[in-house]
């Protein structure tokens, strides 16, 4: 059964069984993203609980214009970004445009990220700034379109393309520094 069918059934019947199925599908993904961004297990648990309750209470507002997963992830990213802003935990999450004079590698192929050893991917994602990590997760883990990412971060498509390019370059630079003996 698709997500959208489960949402429809839940809204029609208010039967918790349908919500439980959606919980099973998405809670792990929401927790994983929250943990990646907040870097704290107990905060990620609280975030997952708040986000799932938000989804439950706002289910009727889901209008089928986007995929259900995109809707859920946009709630998740917005929650985490707001949380970090409130706590002023990580300035990189502000997504402000600024000129960086750091020496970045040339364009990075998607295959470099997608075919990477998972343990190394985890290490590098922990090291790059949260803003870059967020945008890479949206593109490669959630497979969101440029337009969808722009909608969540309230940026133009060209700004998002530039941010993805820079995030990939920073990812590769960090990788090269970390594993320089192999590069």
């Amino acid at each position: 059964m698709t997500d959208e069918e489960l949402v429809k059934l839940y809204l029609e019947s208010q039967n918790v069984v349908y919500f439980n199925l959606l919980y099973k599908r998405y809670s792990g993904k929401i927790f994983g993203k929250s943990l990646s961004l907040l870097k704290n297990e107990s905060e990620a648990e609280d975030a997952t609980q708040d986000i799932m309750m938000k989804i439950l209470l706002n289910m009727a507002k889901f209008n089928n214009k986007s995929r259900f997963s995109t809707w859920i992830y946009s709630i998740t990213y917005n929650y985490c970004i707001d949380f970090l802003r409130r706590k002023k935990k990580d300035p990189s999450v502000y997504f402000d445009d600024f000129i960086e004079n750091i020496d970045l590698p040339d364009d990075v192929e998607d295959a470099f990220l997608l075919e990477m050893n998972v343990k190394r991917l985890k290490v590098i994602l922990e090291e790059i700034p949260t803003g870059d990590k967020t945008i890479l997760l949206m593109k490669y883990q959630d497979e969101m379109s440029i337009r969808e990412i722009g909608g969540i971060l309230n940026k133009s498509e060209s700004a998002i393309k530039m941010k993805i390019k820079r995030a990939k370059q920073k990812f590769k630079k960090t990788y090269n520094e970390k594993y320089k003996e192999e590069v």
């Binding site: 918790v16 919980y23 809670s27 792990g28 993904k29 927790f31 994983g32 943990l35 297990e41 990620a44 648990e45 997952t48 609980q49 799932m52 309750m53 439950l56 990220l113 997608l114 075919e115 990477m116 050893n117 998972v118 991917l121 985890k122 994602l125 890479l136 997760l137 490669y140 883990q141």
Partner: protein, 72 residues
């Protein structure tokens, strides 16, 4: 081999889901608690709201459909 198997980001997501299943059970219990509280509140409102409404209607001299039915 599916496309997910070739995507290291998806593999990482899957590993995290398995690694933190205990945390998710804990979160689910809290959500169930919240849902039970919500459902209790809804039941209370369902039960008493109409009675409170008709009480106030009667107090202000109006009639509710329930009291009109009683009159018949």
């Amino acid at each position: 081999m599916g496309s997910e198997d070739k995507n290291s980001f998806k593999q990482l997501e899957k590993i995290q889901e398995e690694e933190y299943s205990e945390n998710l059970d804990k979160v689910k219990n809290s959500i169930d608690g919240n849902m039970n509280s919500l459902s209790s509140i809804t039941n209370i409102i369902d039960l008493y709201f109409s009675k409170v409404l008709s009480y106030f209607a009667n107090m202000t001299g109006g009639t509710t459909s329930e009291s009109e039915d009683d009159d018949l």
